[in-house]
């Protein structure tokens, strides 16, 4: 035990050196750049999808990109707030939470989607869908009263925030009271799997992730019935900490908009059409929803 503690302490001293280099007040130019992703789906698979982006960034920024593995949406928020993550792919909801804790966190790019079963082509938004199995007896929202549903993560937009906010408004009572049991699956794909296994009766999932699940063969489009659809939600933003040096920020943005094989591959992986610049304005609405929720 002592040995372990001493080792940790030694590591900490080494880390301290690099951290101390970034003096407070000045802009930060971290090397390596610490990147993280919210846990929309299987983290390993998700990381594989983002490999081209990481290669492009390393090329463009001339430094190593270290990936911070997280266990939940909240971990990314926490990381950004605690300056331990520099660049992240977030959901609108989690961005909103992070922004509420640290004003300097800035969204800068998102992407328009290819069309899918549930996602309109070239759209800049998606929806949260309440889905049930087509073979089930649930035909209307009311049928789900007191039945078990699956959410994704408390900080997920389409799988947590929107259902609680918008759906609750639609049924006129808090989600937790309307349904029987709420289970957090930890990922959109897992929600779909749980539904397929009938571990839950219904699930709130993002339309884009449902399309992905269909593409991945987790479920067939015909097996799904949509009972409710949220108002459009802007696509996930990439965000960086506000303390990063402007040159670094510009380089990062540049990496997204350079037409390289890596970025084309990246778009293919994301089923995106193109990357689109974005500002906090796009997420203002969702942030308001979140704020209302918190009150």
């Amino acid at each position: 035990m002592k040995l372990i503690i001493r080792t940790i302490i030694t590591i900490l001293f080494l880390a301290q050196g690099s951290l101390l280099a970034a003096a407070p007040g000045k802009c930060e130019d971290p090397d390596p750049l610490r990147f993280s992703l919210i846990t929309r789906k299987d983290p390993i698979k998700q990381l594989e999808d983002h490999r081209p982006l990481l290669r492009q960034l390393e090329k463009q920024l001339g430094r190593r990109i270290s990936v911070v593995q997280v266990s939940s949406y909240g971990a990314v928020i926490e990381g950004l707030v605690a300056n331990s993550i520099d660049l992240a792919s977030m959901g609108p909801g989690s961005y909103a939470i992070a922004r509420s804790r640290d004003e300097s966190i800035t969204p800068f790019v998102t992407w328009s989607m290819q069309g899918g079963t549930f996602v309109k082509a070239n759209s800049l938004s998606y929806n949260s869908l309440l889905i049930v199995l087509a073979s089930s007896t649930f035909k209307r929202i009311e049928d789900l009263r007191s039945h078990n549903i699956s959410l994704t993560d408390p900080a997920s937009t389409s799988g947590g925030v929107i259902p609680r906010a918008e759906f609750s408004k639609a049924v006129g009572q808090p989600l937790d009271d309307f349904v029987g049991r709420v289970t957090y699956s930890g990922g959109h794909d897992r929600s779909v799997i749980a539904l397929g296994k009938r571990q839950v009766d219904a699930a709130f999932v993002a339309s884009e992730h449902l399309d992905q699940a269909i593409r991945d063969g987790l479920v067939k489009a015909t097996e799904i019935r949509v009972l409710w659809e949220s108002s459009p939600i802007p696509h996930d933003p990439f965000v960086y900490r506000g303390k990063l040096c402007p040159e670094l920020k510009a380089k990062i943005r540049g990496a997204f908009f350079s037409d390289t094989p890596e970025m084309r591959e990246m778009l293919r992986n994301l089923k995106g059409d193109r990357f689109v610049p974005v500002t906090d304005d796009a997420y203002r609405q969702i942030r308001e929803v979140m704020l209302r929720e918190q009150k």
């Binding site: 900490l12 951290l19 971990a75 605690a82 408390p154 699956s185 571990q199």
Partner: protein, 780 residues
């Protein structure tokens, strides 16, 4: 016959019942056994399934507990880092810790507060979450205690994004408590979710992480995490939180859960892994259902099979019954055939007209009777019966009446004779009867006379005719007259012809001594008797006497026979009385004396050792004064010793002529001739009287001898007579000895000599000669 050999139907009925019961019983036992076995196996399997589920729950709870413990251990290490001297009191240290923690996926946020809840690090503006103040106070109070008291698990704040963030409060103390503070680390439940989300815990599987006070921090299901920090899940079960296995409902009326609780060592947390009993047993239930269905099918099959077998047995039984009844029929048929065979045999052995035995049957029955008779002391006689003038009746009244007459006779014979007697019709009007088992010989005479009577009675109505008929009967006695059946029949036949000649309607015995009637017309006999001597028709027969002391022949009694030219052998009984009447007795008497002497002379001439011959004297002969002289003269004539001649006289003849007899006997005796008293015991003589007479020998009458064995009285008379005679100096001879028993009896009684059929019958001279040559009879 069938009854004795074959009673299978009843036997089979019992066996059938037993067999059927046995089959039903074994089928029932089989089913009972299989069901009992299967149900007990199922119960064992159910327990095994629950046990296995429980074991894997315990294992999972243990693993998660250890994982949690490791996480909490590392949280404690983070706190220790802050305590190190280089960190102590440094506000930046928390910031550095945060970046350190950012690499740890289990923890999200680190914040450092002083004892009042004021935050040390400048980074965050937020103070200690209000809900945690109570825990902080708890920590400050107990900071000296050992174990997990320096760690308190708080509850996540109500904010949705904080739902998965479980605050861990850890005390941080530098030297001398100067910088006492509280490190708050947020445990990311998402970390746990990602770790365990692929664990198969089943549809109703439930993993709960609980604070030691029973408040639930998180519950994971197959679909993911459930969050409920409101404390409303803190139920009775949680209040009584304790390690181990329990089976209970998590909520009232809710499903029953099997759950296992494991406490995280040294930390105030517990892991509860549970699953609905129904789900645990669902595979088992479907298996059980399959078993039960299979067993039900099997049972139905067994029951059907049992009935099929019983049905088959029943059919078999009916076949067997059919076989049995056909067997019975067969046996009845056989019996019937045998009856018919018997009937046929009867027909063959019976005379169809009268229903009596025919000759063949009679011969066989009579043979077997006589074979038995040899061994018995009873008397047997064969009667030959012929109807007189039957041919005339037949001719005049017709065969029809003749047949009726024969049937009538047969009926009367059957009616009056005993069952044991054998009656047969030999053909025509000839009947033969074997009279069996008579006690006394004299009874034969009675029976014979009765036969004459019953047949002689008129037949009142034979088809309208009154018919008178008389029988001629001839009787031969066994073994007196013959000791084989053929001879017996021949002799009886001869005697029957005597009866015919004697004028019909009478009965004649072959042994003339038994005849009660004159065998032929007296005149006719007298005429013929006159010529008998001239025609040399008399013969002397000699019956040996045996000395019981020496077992040698002691002499002979000479018996006269008349070889009648037409009547055959006539016995003295049938002509001597007549000869006495006509006076021819003297001539005959003389002839006897001469014949006896001549015979003695002849034997002497042959060089044989002669033995005395006794001749019988008739009472009339006492009138012949010259008799003694004549006796002597004849002896002398043939040069014979007087001892070789003896005379026998009967008591009755002595009584009649007592005076002449006395003197004459004295003369005879004086001549050296011995005198025997014949037929002793029959007459009126007393021994007192006899002892005055010159008697040398007394001969005990055959009547006494015959009954000596059976009659006590006769036995006493004979024995006392022997004793008295001996006392008077007389020898005793027993006549008519026919059986060995009589012989033994007499010998024991002291009798000197015997004479009788048992020993030897009266023999012609040439046969008697044999006895002279071999006089000894040791075998008697």
């Amino acid at each position: 016959m069938s009854n004795d050999l074959f009673h299978p139907s009843k036997l089979f009925k019992n066996r059938w019942f037993l067999l059927r019961s046995a089959i039903l019983l074994s089928a029932a036992l089989l089913l009972l056994g299989i069901w009992a076995f299967a149900l007990s196996r199922l119960e064992m399997e159910r327990q095994l399934v629950v046990e296995h589920a429980s074991i894997s729950q315990r294992n999972l709870a243990e693993i998660i507990s250890q994982n949690l413990r490791r996480l909490l251990d590392s949280s404690a290490q983070y706190a220790q880092i802050l305590e190190s001297p280089s960190y102590a009191g440094n506000s930046r240290s928390v910031e550095n810790l945060s970046s350190l923690i950012s690499g740890d996926r289990a923890f999200n946020r680190a914040a450092f507060f002083d004892a009042r809840g004021k935050r040390f690090d400048s980074k965050s503006t937020a103070g200690l979450p209000p809900g945690l103040l109570r825990e902080v106070k708890q920590l400050t109070k107990k900071n000296d205690e050992e174990g997990f008291s320096n760690l308190v698990v708080g509850l996540p704040s109500g904010a949705p994004e904080d739902m998965w963030q479980v605050p861990l409060l850890l005390t941080v103390r530098s030297v001398g408590d100067r910088h006492f503070g509280i490190l708050v680390l947020h445990l990311d439940l998402g970390y746990l979710l990602q770790q365990y989300r692929d664990i198969e815990i089943g549809r109703s599987g439930l993993i709960r992480i609980l604070k030691q006070d029973g408040i639930e921090l998180a519950r994971a299901r197959a679909g993911g995490l459930e969050i409920n920090h409101t404390g409303k899940n803190k139920n009775d079960f949680d209040q009584a939180l304790m390690a181990g296995t329990r089976i209970s409902a998590q909520a009232q009326d809710g499903p029953v859960y099997l759950s296992n609780v494991n406490f995280v060592k040294t930390y105030p947390l517990a892991v509860d892994v549970g699953q609905e009993m129904d789900e645990i047993l669902s595979n088992f239930h479907s298996r059980q259902q399959k078993y039960v269905i299979t067993l039900l099918i099997f049972s139905v099959v067994v029951v059907l099979l049992t009935f099929v077998i019983i049905g088959a047995l029943r059919r078999q039984k009916s076949y067997i019954d059919a076989i049995i009844s056909s067997e019975k029929e067969k046996y009845l048929l056989i019996e019937q055939l045998e009856l018919e065979k018997l009937h046929a045999l009867e027909l063959a052995s019976n005379d169809h007209l009268t229903g009596l035995h025919n000759r063949r049957m009679f011969m066989s029955l009579a043979e077997s009777h006589l074979a038995r008779a040899v061994r018995s002391r009873k008397h047997y006689a064969l009667a030959f019966l012929d109807l007189d003038r039957f041919k005339a009746i037949n001719d005049s009244l017709g065969h029809h009446v003749g047949d009726l007459l024969l049937q009538g006779v047969a009926g009367r014979l059957q009616k009056h004779l005993r069952q044991s007697d054998v009656i047969a019709r030999l053909g025509g009007d000839e009947f033969v009867v074997l009279i069996t088992g008579l006690e006394k010989e004299d009874d034969v005479v009675e029976v014979a006379q009765k036969l004459v009577e019953i047949v002689g009675e008129p037949f009142a109505d034979l088809d309208g005719h009154e018919v008178h008929v008389s029988p001629s009967i001839g009787v031969a006695v066994f073994p007196r007259d013959a000791d084989d059946l053929d001879t017996l029949i021949r002799h009886a036949d001869l005697a029957m012809y005597q009866s015919k000649r004697a004028g019909r309607g009478c009965c004649t015995f072959f042994d003339a001594a038994m005849n009660t009637h004159e065998p032929s017309g007296a005149y006719d006999t007298e005429q013929k008797l006159a010529h008998a001597i001239e025609a040399d028709q008399f013969r002397l027969y000699f019956q040996p006497k045996l000395d019981l002391h020496t077992h040698r022949v002691s002499g002979f009694e000479a018996l006269i026979r008349w070889e009648h030219p037409t009547q055959g052998l006539v016995f003295p009984k049938d002509f001597i009385p007549l000869a006495e009447k006509t006076g021819q007795i003297f001539q005959i008497g003389n002839w006897v004396i001469a014949a006896a002497c001549r015979q003695l002379h002849e034997w002497q001439g042959e060089g044989l050792t002669t033995l005395p011959i006794a001749i019988n004297l008739s009472g009339r002969q006492f009138l012949d004064k010259s008799l003694p002289e004549r006796l002597v003269r004849h002896l002398n004539e043939f040069g014979l010793d007087s001892g070789l001649l003896q005379v026998e006289v009967t008591e009755s003849s002595l009584i009649e002529r007592i005076e002449e007899a006395g003197s004459m006997l004295s003369e005879i005796r004086a001549a050296g001739i011995k005198i025997s008293l014949d037929d002793f015991g029959n007459g009126y003589s007393s021994l007192n009287y006899i002892k005055t007479l010159p008697i040398d020998v007394i001969k005990i009458d055959r009547g006494f001898v015959h009954d000596i064995v059976n009659s006590y009285d006769d036995s006493v008379i004979v024995l006392s007579a022997i004793t008295l005679a001996h006392n008077l100096g007389m020898r005793v001879i027993a006549e008519g000895v026919e059986t060995r028993a009589q012989l033994v009896h007499l010998k024991t009684g002291g009798c000197d000599e015997i004479q009788g059929y048992y020993f030897a019958r009266p023999l012609p001279a040439d046969e008697a000669r044999e006895w002279l040559m071999n006089p000894t009879r040791e075998d008697l």
